[in-house]
Symmetry: C2
Subunit: 83 residues, 2 copies
């Protein structure tokens, strides 16, 4: 089995209203040192054993998980060894 | 300046309806090898230079960013060197 760990983040320069809201809340809560907040997604996908896991994960990101117009994605694929 | 990279994930055993929805969509799109999907959050916070960044980030997670009842969090803090 493999686990794909995918990070989806907004591209530089794209406005992040959710991040701004979190930043505002953190200031209110007494964390004035917070200068910027960006909120993205973190997705873990368990894959049955396959040869072309990388290609598959890339397809998934492009077709469903990320919006390539405003988002970047990166991923790592880890082999799960069960004993 | 420091950047805190925070991962927030649902605890094991907590139902993830969003993940199940993504899994269903991936199956429909022709990815039958997907066995499980968990969706979490990935947050990047820029912090002004502070000594106690770790303590601060932990406080932020406990007070606002994560729900400790159903979510786990982990973080790394990186120093940003500008030249």
């Amino acid at each position: 089995m493999k686990i794909a760990k995918i990070h989806i983040t907004l591209k530089e320069g794209v406005l992040d209203p959710q991040g701004k809201a979190v930043q505002g809340s953190l200031h209110s809560l007494g964390f004035p040192s917070v200068e910027d907040v960006r909120v993205g997604k973190y997705i873990e996908i368990k894959l049955a054993e396959e040869d072309n896991a990388e290609k598959q994960v890339e397809d998934m990101c492009n077709k469903l998980l990320a919006n390539p117009v405003v988002e970047n994605y990166s991923y790592t694929i880890e082999e799960v060894v069960t004993q």
